[in-house]
Symmetry: C2
Subunit: 137 residues, 2 copies
Amino acid sequence: MVRSVWFKIDFASHVPVYKQIKEKFKLLILTGELKPGDFVPSIRTLADDLKVNVNTVARAYRELAMEGVLEPVRGEGYIVRQLNEEGFIRSNIENFVDAVERCKEVGIGIERLMSLLKEIYGRRDDGSEREELGEEL
Amino acid sequence: MVRSVWFKIDFASHVPVYKQIKEKFKLLILTGELKPGDFVPSIRTLADDLKVNVNTVARAYRELAMEGVLEPVRGEGYIVRQLNEEGFIRSNIENFVDAVERCKEVGIGIERLMSLLKEIYGRRDDGSEREELGEEL
DNA sequence: GACTTTGTCATAGTGTACTATTACAGTGGT
DNA sequence: ACCACTGTAATAGTACACTATGACAAAGTC
């Protein structure tokens, strides 16, 4: 509720907007920024913030509700229920594996990926030194 | 020409089919399976093999031609020109970085990614021991 | 009760990806 | 010349994501 601009949508992505929204909320719950019982932004306000249509947000919430992540409360909004962390983490791992396999196919050495890995995990998350990476590429 | 079933399309993916085709050909060129001067499969035969429409393959080839990767030859087909390896590798690296960052956000430890990395690079590419990975996840 | 905010639902229009089908034109082999 | 290939192009229909808009119902506040 309080903070409405939790994330942004990548409109250039092939990934549908409603799916991006779903993923973002799962992440917010996993990281503890949203806890069970919390209200998520109303469909209309989130739609405004993300510059997206109401129906798109509604679809994301509806599907999250079907997955048991959110719980709809008529006239009040949606509250956080619980997340299947297991599955969410797994899908991220699978994504990582895919990325690595493609890098391997393309002939990128393991050392390069290792150093990138260390670099990413080594840096603080304050948003600084995020462009430095360019040189590493 | 000889071998027509070089790859398969993931119809469940959000990534458009024509983009998947483009990526696959770039990969084939990078790995040397297709060399400059080689003919790629005709639009119709590839469309048949991939169980995809002619127009979809045509679009992929057309865009690859616009990027300078392929060269159209009226009445004969498309031949491989050259690939901007630089950019192709970079896009794969970027994809890797994104995947790692998301894993980090989700709270997955660097050790886990490291061991997955080593495992993937350690295995042979004969297609065996590809399901073993499941246990690692 | 009036008002505001919530979610819900229905309608309609747009753009993109993809499909199916047809037709036409250039090239090469016979 | 004929035929079998190539690519090219036009048309049309389907599915999906997304948008815009308006109307309705449930809950909270005053």
